[in-house]
């Protein structure tokens, strides 16, 4: 099991304090810059390892950054704190995005990212809770995160805890039936302590979701299962923040975050081949320059 990096965790705490005190424009800039640093770190990590899911990492990073740097009630130095909010990355193939985010928050040292996917690294291609602090359940096969998150939300209820459970789902992943079993359970039990975020980048591994097994009208599907639905721009940090912190009704909330796969790197954006293609050194240099703007 990796251990926390106290200096980075302290910096993360200062960021949270600064963010809490900041006005809207400053908040937007803080999260934008933070997310883009994670994007660059992620690209470098994938380039070193020679593998990764770059497109989905880039589409989900604004969601992860907003959650970990502005929303989640967690403590990187006490990852097992019982009343922490729970975060589940159901689209486990974007482990790279999660690792860079967790490292940036100090759950473990950023140097560990250099081991990504190497022999005996804690940082497997898909996240493992027994090795990486901040990972709540092992994901990878699709359609697993939501049922587990529902169990965590039921547990929060049983424990009379006000902790909240967040789960990030891929959109293509919603083709797995297990999600809808869990959506039904959450709706039926009115689990208002549960938020599902769909990274709606409209591309799955091989093609567009709508050309493969169409998901639209996606909001209607979730509403029909008893959820409140918010649709927003998944790269608009303040919109995400607003959705995560808005007063809750008595239902679970699904945030459909419209995103762009490969977001932030012009030659990767909305291109299906960047699902898990590995960028060359030159491409990483160009991408990093774009992200530093």
């Amino acid at each position: 099991m990796l251990v926390a990096d106290p200096a980075t965790a302290a910096a993360w705490r200062r960021f949270r304090e600064e963010f809490a005190a900041a006005g809207p424009d400053e908040r937007r800039e803080l999260l934008r810059a933070r997310a883009n640093r994670s994007r660059s770190t992620d690209l470098a990590m994938i380039g070193r390892a020679g593998l990764g899911h770059v497109g989905g990492d880039l589409s989900v990073l604004d969601i992860l950054t907003t959650l970990f740097f502005a929303v989640l009630r967690v403590d990187p130095e006490q990852p097992e704190w019982p009343d922490r909010d729970r975060f589940v990355l159901s689209k486990g193939h974007t482990a790279g995005a999660l690792y860079t985010t967790l490292a940036a928050a100090g759950f473990f040292a950023e140097d560990e990212l250099r081991t990504f996917a190497g022999p005996h690294s804690a940082l497997n291609g898909h996240p493992n809770r027994t090795k990486v602090p901040g990972v709540e359940t092992n994901t990878g096969p699709l359609g697993h995160g939501l049922p587990v998150a529902v169990g965590m939300a039921v547990a929060g209820r049983l424990a009379s805890s006000d902790r909240h459970v967040y789960v990030v789902l891929g959109d293509g992943e919603l083709q797995e039936g297990s999600n809808w079993e869990a959506a039904m359970t959450a709706g039926h039990r009115r689990l208002s302590n549960l938020t599902a975020v769909v990274d709606r980048n409209r591309l799955q591994q091989g093609a567009r979701t709508e050309d493969t097994a169409a998901l639209d009208p996606l909001g209607d599907k979730w509403r029909a299962f008893g959820w409140d639905v918010v649709e927003l721009d998944g790269h608009d940090h303040l919109a995400l923040l607003g959705a995560f912190t808005a007063p809750r009704g008595d239902r679970p909330v699904c945030v459909i975050a419209n995103t762009i796969k490969g977001r932030g790197v012009s030659f990767m954006e909305d291109r299906v081949e960047w699902h898990h293609k590995v960028p060359s050194a030159e491409q990483i240099t160009a991408a990093t320059a774009e992200l530093a703007r």
Partner: protein
């Protein structure tokens, strides 16, 4: 031992009753104990639990993948979930959840495969769970426990609640006589000693193995009976001792022999140091014909008479 054999002709029990009774007792003492089920309140015998602990019975409906995932989420949040469903659906439909959410994630869920084997007789092979032991044995980090009677079921439920690790508990519906006085995790219980051949049995086959040993004694064959209620991790020492001291092994299980108890025991036997003759009783990659459980056990050669015949034949080389 004689008491065990004597009771064979007497009263028999549905282990689900012992399971439910023990679960309620544990739940009274520990509010972390919860039950999760798939519309199986009746078939998992959870009615009384639901009545006493309505908030702690989470019925997700007919949705096994969700059921196992929800169980994992509860376990990872500090609860002790007994996830109950008919074994064919729990293990077959939710196999990937068992692998990824429970075993690989080290989520201390107790998966309770109810009415396993061919307990659903006439309902047919869709409802039989003869593959469960084989499927689950292949999953790292998952303990597999098959109690033989009510006393062992109760003790196994109690053990599982405190085990703090992933467990599969196979809870029988087909009525069996009382043959044990409890459960010790990971240890084969030598219910009868013998010197010519050892029968390694599990679940419903244990009482039949004891009856077979009694019958074989009449043929002049001395049969050792091991109750292998923990299938994984396997008590390899007990098997090696049986190989060394009795020189022949029969396994008996209400399951497919492809990867089940027989295969597990065989792997130990062939590893030596001195492989000995062996016979595996069970179902050999076949779907069952129509019939009730007693008929099907007879059809597949799983009666005391069949076990006796195998033991006698092996002991005579």
């Amino acid at each position: 031992m004689s008491a065990a054999v004597a009771s064979f002709a007497g009263e028999t029990f549905d282990c689900r009753v012992a399971f439910a009774g023990e679960l309620i007792e544990l739940a009274r003492a520990d509010d972390r104990i919860v039950a999760v089920c798939n519309d199986s309140v009746g078939s998992s015998n959870l009615g009384a639990f639901q009545k006493e602990f309505p908030d702690r019975l989470i019925n997700v409906g007919i949705a096994e993948q969700d059921m196992v995932g929800v169980g994992a989420g509860l376990a990872l949040s500090g609860y002790i979930p007994f996830v109950c469903g008919a074994s064919p659906f729990l293990t077959g439909r939710a196999l990937e959840q068992i692998k990824a959410d429970v075993a690989y994630s080290h989520a201390p869920v107790i998966l309770c495969g109810m009415s396993p084997g061919m307990a659903y007789g006439e309902l047919g092979p869709t409802h039989h769970s003869i593959e469960d032991l084989s499927w689950l044995r292949a999953i790292a980090g998952l303990d597999i426990v098959v109690p033989a009677d009510p006393a062992e079921t109760r003790a196994a439920v109690r053990w599982a609640a405190g085990a703090s690790r992933p467990v599969f508990l196979r809870v029988g519906r087909f009525k069996v006589p009382a043959v044990t006085d409890g459960f010790t995790f990971g240890a084969a219980a030598r219910l009868r000693d013998g010197s010519d051949v050892t029968v390694v049995a599990t679940g419903t086959m244990v009482s039949r193995a004891l009856a077979a040993a009694e019958l074989a004694a009449g043929d002049g064959v001395s049969v050792r009976v091991l109750n292998m209620s923990t299938i994984a991790p396997l008590d390899e020492d007990a098997i090696r001792a049986a190989v060394r001291e009795t020189g022949a092994i029969v396994t008996a299980e209400e399951a497919t022999t492809t990867g089940g108890l027989g295969a597990a025991v065989a792997a130990v036997v062939v590893a030596g140091p001195r492989p000995v003759p062996m016979r595996m009783l069970g179902v050999h990659r076949e779907f069952a014909p129509t019939g009730d459980t007693a008929f099907l056990l007879e059809h597949f050669g799983l009666t005391a008479g069949d076990i006796r015949a195998a033991a006698v034949e092996l002991s005579r080389g």
